[in-house]
């Protein structure tokens, strides 16, 4: 290729695009140049001096992390001089480093340890006193041990640049330089923990897992975060069937290494002391623990009797349960319970969007599009708080590609800081001139854009005469999957009209039904419910408290299956830990079906089998399995034609959860609560 630059690194021919840094060029041929401060995606620092290499015709060693390649360049990364420099730079680093590796959380996955092992000196010549300062707690999540800090400034850069928060800085100068938080002695930030993960040493540690485990004792399970609709992949570190840590340092998944406080730490609800571990049946007006067989039998009997007597059912599903569970639930309702009274809490108007895009292709934006598109328009949402990953992507796109970001929101938002234009209110049309000049655009909109407003938005976008993609913002981990899988009275899986209209969620709650079956939702807050109430959930929620039978369900971290995020990308859940007494919702439904003699009709309650059926029956869900199996995301377009139904726009209602809230689940997370309490106490 003509536009590649040719150079030689350690005698090997290398071809890379112009402007590539020598450190990255070396990677392409498997040569690793050591580095602490260089971090892909962040601004350059050239502070650690570990990456010094020899370059022919240059008088001094050069930092490979800042040196762009040039034609004919000859680089040597393993000469005596280079090795000597590395070794003694490490010696410098260790002069003030405490060497408390035996008690350091980072021991075993510490970049400093690894470097010293590979390049360092066996003995240190340093005999002077070390600088010592006590450890500090910056926030419920973030702890800082200054002497361990090697001042690579990765944390500061990831907070400023990656997160756009700027909560960490460098205080003092020279050898007493220190990383400092934004509020003198404490941090007020997103508590995302990115600084902790990116720290190459044990200087920043997390209040969640510190002193809990040695890194190598854990098993690492990649699965999908169960909180918001962005669908970040999270790698859970488990030991003895307990989740100890969450991160995504391997940069797998649609989020790379990004995670917010919920993705990284708020898995902790799973072992909350109030977690339900045994089924309960109301006996003499009181919920009492019973065996699974007794509970299942009670429910199955009630279901059978009601079907037999032509009684009425209401079924409310969840935004958190898997596609397989949602699919199975609506099939159960429609085919076994013979009802179309199936619904869930809708958090955005996907139906109108898909309908108005009918027949068109390439109109749905992905998480990756937000990083690549030349322009992005944010409508309504406070993206940084409600959709942290999407906001991160947009920010990274701005930083790395100077993308134009347009913001139309009621209140100031973080995106304002780098927006090409911002409008307060809803008058996006005032941006028409600017938007027309863009070469492409991704539009994100929240629940305040629905029905006619949304159709108007789509028309407006068409009128720009540039390629436009849309992202309908939805609240929870599988909000999108719930609609796609037909958890609405008017639509079957894949947006096929159900024909016979059933009751909507509010109608079910208002009506007197013989049986109301709630799977993973908490719709009853306050109001009393008549009829027989069956609830599957993790906790004794307001709804579960009123139930006649409560069936303890597994969380997303305790099951397999798939979920679909707000951009319509399907990803696979992997079970990280087993449950104590609870069962997955799929299993519970399967056992109920078996108990009712309906199992042959519904098929096996095995996630893979149900997914196989989804792939066959729901448009564009026949995604390549290897993609899912390898932790990838596959975009779906569950319909591509008109959707001739009336949807109840009044039911479209987002919870607008911020960073430290996650519906009912959030209330059971210690970390989210401690952050909130900490804020209040200041």
């Amino acid at each position: 290729m003509a536009d590649l630059v040719n150079l030689t690194i350690d005698g090997r021919a290398v071809q890379v695009p112009p402007q590539t840094l020598v450190i990255d060029a070396a990677k392409t041929v498997g040569i690793e140049i050591p580095a602490f401060c260089y971090y892909e995606g962040l601004s350059l620092a050239a502070a650690c001096r570990m990456c010094l290499v020899e370059v022919e015709k240059m008088p001094k060693m050069m930092t490979a992390c800042t040196l762009p390649v040039s034609e004919g360049m000859v680089v040597r990364t393993e000469t005596e001089q280079v090795k000597q420099a590395r070794k003694y730079t490490l010696e410098f680093l260790l002069t003030n480093h405490p060497l408390d590796c035996p008690v350091c959380d980072k021991g075993g996955e510490c970049e400093l340890q690894d470097m010293v092992f590979r390049y360092g000196a066996g003995e240190s010549r340093y005999t002077e006193e070390k600088v010592h300062t006590p450890e500090k707690q910056f926030s419920p999540v973030v702890f800082f041990d200054a002497p361990r800090c090697i001042l690579c400034f990765r944390c500061v850069r990831t907070c400023n640049e990656g997160m756009g928060v700027g909560a960490l800085g460098v205080i003092n100068r020279g050898v007493v330089s220190e990383i400092g938080p934004n509020h003198g002695d404490h941090l007020e930030c997103d508590e995302c923990g990115a600084c902790i993960d990116i720290c190459p040493v044990g200087a920043l540690t997390s209040g969640i897992d510190r002193y809990q485990t040695r890194p190598w004792e854990m098993t690492h399970v990649g699965t999908i975060c169960t909180h918001c609709g962005d669908g970040c992949k999270t790698t859970l570190g488990t030991r003895n069937d307990r989740i100890l840590r969450g991160n995504n340092r391997d940069r797998s998944g649609i989020n790379g290494e990004f995670l917010c406080v919920k993705g990284r730490y708020a898995f902790d609800f799973y072992d909350h002391p109030e977690r339900l571990q045994a089924p309960m049946v109301r006996i003499n007006g009181k919920l009492e623990e019973v065996s699974w067989s007794k509970a299942l039998e009670t429910v199955a009997q009630k279901f059978k009797d009601t079907v037999a007597s032509n009684g009425s059912f209401g079924v409310i599903g969840s935004n958190h349960t898997s596609n397989e569970e949602n699919f199975y639930l609506q099939k159960f309702a429609r085919q076994v319970l013979k009802t179309n009274n199936v619904d869930h809490q809708r958090t955005g108007d996907v139906v109108t969007l898909l309908d108005s895009l009918s027949g068109k292709t390439s109109k749905l934006g992905t998480v990756a599009d937000l990083y690549q598109s030349k322009a992005v328009l944010v409508l309504g949402a406070d993206l940084a708080l409600e959709h942290p990953l999407l906001s991160y992507q947009v920010r990274a796109n701005y930083r790395h590609h100077q993308a134009k970001v347009y913001v139309v929101t009621e209140k100031p938002v973080r995106e304002d800081n780098y927006a090409a234009a911002k409008v307060r209110g809803r008058d996006y049309a005032s941006l028409a001139g600017k938007l027309k000049a863009e070469s492409e655009l991704v539009i994100l909109f929240d629940d305040s854009y629905k029905g006619a407003d949304l159709r108007q938005l789509v028309e407006f976008a068409e009128s720009l005469a540039i390629p436009v993609k849309f992202i309908c913002l939805l609240d929870y981990a599988n909000s999108r999957g719930a609609v796609d899988m037909g958890l609405t009275p008017e639509l079957l899986p894949g947006y096929t009209p159900s024909g016979a209209t059933g009751l909507h969620i509010d109608e079910m709650l208002a009506a007197t039904l013989d049986v109301l079956w709630v799977v993973g939702a908490n719709p009853l807050k306050g109001q009393k419910k008549a009829g027989f109430l069956v609830v599957q959930d993790l906790f004794l929620t307001e709804t579960a408290q009123q139930a006649d039978v409560v069936l303890p369900a597994a969380s997303a971290y305790e099951k397999s299956g798939t979920v679909t995020n707000t951009t319509g990308e399907v990803q696979r859940l992997t079970q990280a830990v087993s449950t104590m007494g609870a069962k997955t919702d799929l299993e519970i439904m399967g056992f109920l079906a078996r108990e009712m003699g309906a199992a042959p009709l519904l098929g096996p309650w095995v996630a893979e089998t149900v997914f196989a059926e989804i792939r066959k029956t729901v448009h564009a869900y026949d995604v390549p399995l290897p993609v899912l199996a390898t932790g990838g995301a596959a975009q779906t377009l569950p319909v591509n034609g008109r959707i001739p139904v009336d949807t109840r726009l009044d039911l479209v209602q987002s919870d607008h959860n911020g960073l430290f809230a996650s519906g009912t689940l959030g209330r059971y997370s210690k970390v989210l609560n401690s952050v909130l309490e900490n804020r209040l106490s200041r």
Binding site: G166, G169, I171, N172, R173, G180, N182, H183, G184
Partner: protein, 161 residues
């Protein structure tokens, strides 16, 4: 925060000295001149300077903690800075510094009990050809001898601001 009219005027001029959108440039001068008036860089001042330069208090703190002339704690009304760097050292600047400490009974960056005088051992202040030198606030004194220093300190002890 309220400042004297002169300082406000200086701030106004400063903020206009830099290209549009570059008000951050005024941060260091603002801190310096405000410190002269207030006595130290207080939390309140940090917040104020951040607001006026379009930065965050953390950014101001990062900057102020870098520069050795900016300080969080109030110093004496008269801040006596003794240079002991090489050219002054060759003229016994170190002994001059010790002499001053002993005379005042305070050490590096300490303040006398009455808040009148503070002392600091400083790096080269650009008076090398007329060593040893000291600075009292912003005033230079050259070729300082112990006797001359005593005289200066005695005067400062009594001097109203």
């Amino acid at each position: 925060m309220t400042f004297s009219p002169q300082l406000e005027a200086r701030f106004e001029k400063l903020l206009k000295s830099y290209p549009p959108g570059r008000q951050r440039s005024a941060m260091i001068p603002m801190l310096m001149y405000a410190q002269d008036e207030i006595g130290s860089v207080t939390d309140e001042l940090i917040t104020e300077v951040a607001a006026r330069t379009g930065t965050t208090p953390l950014q101001v703190n990062e900057v102020m903690s870098y520069y050795s002339m900016l300080h969080r704690k109030p110093l004496g009304k008269f801040h006596v800075q003794v240079c002991t760097n090489i050219s002054c050292l060759l003229h016994d600047g170190d002994k001059l510094y010790e002499h001053a400490c002993k005379k005042l009974g305070i050490g590096h960056k300490e303040v006398t009990a009455d808040g009148q005088i503070s002392i600091e051992e400083v790096e080269c202040m650009g008076a090398c050809s007329w060593a040893p030198a000291i600075q009292v606030n912003y005033d230079f004194h050259h070729h300082v001898t112990p006797a001359k220093l005593d005289e200066i300190l005695d005067r400062l002890k009594k001097k109203p601001v």
